[in-house]
Symmetry: C2
Subunit: 232 residues, 2 copies
Amino acid sequence: MKPAYLQVKEFIQQHISSGEWRPGDPVPSEATLMQQFEISRMTVNRALRELNSEGMVKRVQGLGSFVAELHRISSSLHLRDIQEEVVERGHVHSARVLLSQAEKASAEVAQSLGLRAGARVFHTVIVHLENGVPIQYEDRHVNPAVSPGYLETNFVKTTPTAHLLKEAPLTEAHYSIEACLPTPDQARYLDVAPHEACLAMARRTVSGKHVASVVRLVYPGSRYSFAGKFQA
Amino acid sequence: MKPAYLQVKEFIQQHISSGEWRPGDPVPSEATLMQQFEISRMTVNRALRELNSEGMVKRVQGLGSFVAELHRISSSLHLRDIQEEVVERGHVHSARVLLSQAEKASAEVAQSLGLRAGARVFHTVIVHLENGVPIQYEDRHVNPAVSPGYLETNFVKTTPTAHLLKEAPLTEAHYSIEACLPTPDQARYLDVAPHEACLAMARRTVSGKHVASVVRLVYPGSRYSFAGKFQA
DNA sequence: CAGTGGTCTAGACCACCGA
DNA sequence: CGGTGGTCTAGACCACTGG
């Protein structure tokens, strides 16, 4: 037997996704559902509370519960480690380190990392391969305050993403996905034509009070896509 | 005074994001937190249950609650109507209908829509503009069973997305984001150079038992990006 | 076995809304 | 005012885990 709160949830979801209850329509009140299902109010409350936090219904104190506007169908992207992703597909991950050094930050990099221009930062450029085929060009700048030992890491065995996640639990990350043409360097190391469209993700990760790292990930357009599922 | 369940949530979140409790570490049990906060078990349970559904902790019956692995930081993309999006930015949306007709489905389209090859489908191609500048080329095929009156819609005033959302509440949608070069047609109507990289989203929307629509949305790489925030 | 989370109840008090 | 949701309690029974 399914839990009572789940039965209530499914009952309501069914009426919504069948189109019988339209966005804006009132959902039966807690009192009504209590009687209908012969269960306690806490149980009904849980069902409605969860539907609310899932964006399925909207609740207003003193007024009632209503079917939510349905544009709110959403998807969750996850911040994944490229190595983990490749291994999960049953393939072999390898990496080629093109650069790994300390530098003085340019104005732009300093700004993104929340440091003053000219501050010492770590810079790595790594190409990730799946079964020997290049799939990601990773150009990363790291805040030394967050990971002092960053450059001593063996980036063939562990990725910067994995290392930084372990070093500094991150609290948030901003990203932007865009299309671009590869730079000559990127084209060479990703093994794509100079005019082939590429997918790029720019990402800034924050750990506590510090910006941990800024990175530009470039993927060959012909060999990579972000896929997912929106779900009600 | 903040609700007790929220205080417990924040207490735990603080210990996690400060790095004091690492991924895999056990979180205090319900019984412990009951005593510590002098509140009932239901309240503690709610706090932990919500943290669990938010991906912050992982709970195992019979074992305990643990700090979740932090790769699970995620972002929520929303399925938005382009018109709504433009208006929200305080700009003017307009549209140019390049094609709007019934057709016999090609094998590929029929497959995506879950119909037999040669079945009658609706096909629209529309360019969306923001303040007169083209930003999206929308090539869409619609299942007539889901929206029989689709072609009678005035697509200058309302978008296919808005119309379909209203017509058929959707239950899920699959998407894939990739980089591509524009076709000659797309380049012309989006007003981009033939070699400029573009961003494309392929999307298949499902309403109940039917596939409602398949669409390919092409954006000029220089004028559009998907941005967002991962959050713990 | 003892400890954990999963679920549920019957009642309670409060804040908010509209009439 | 009555109806709504927001929160909380003290207890209960169950299923699962480990030793």
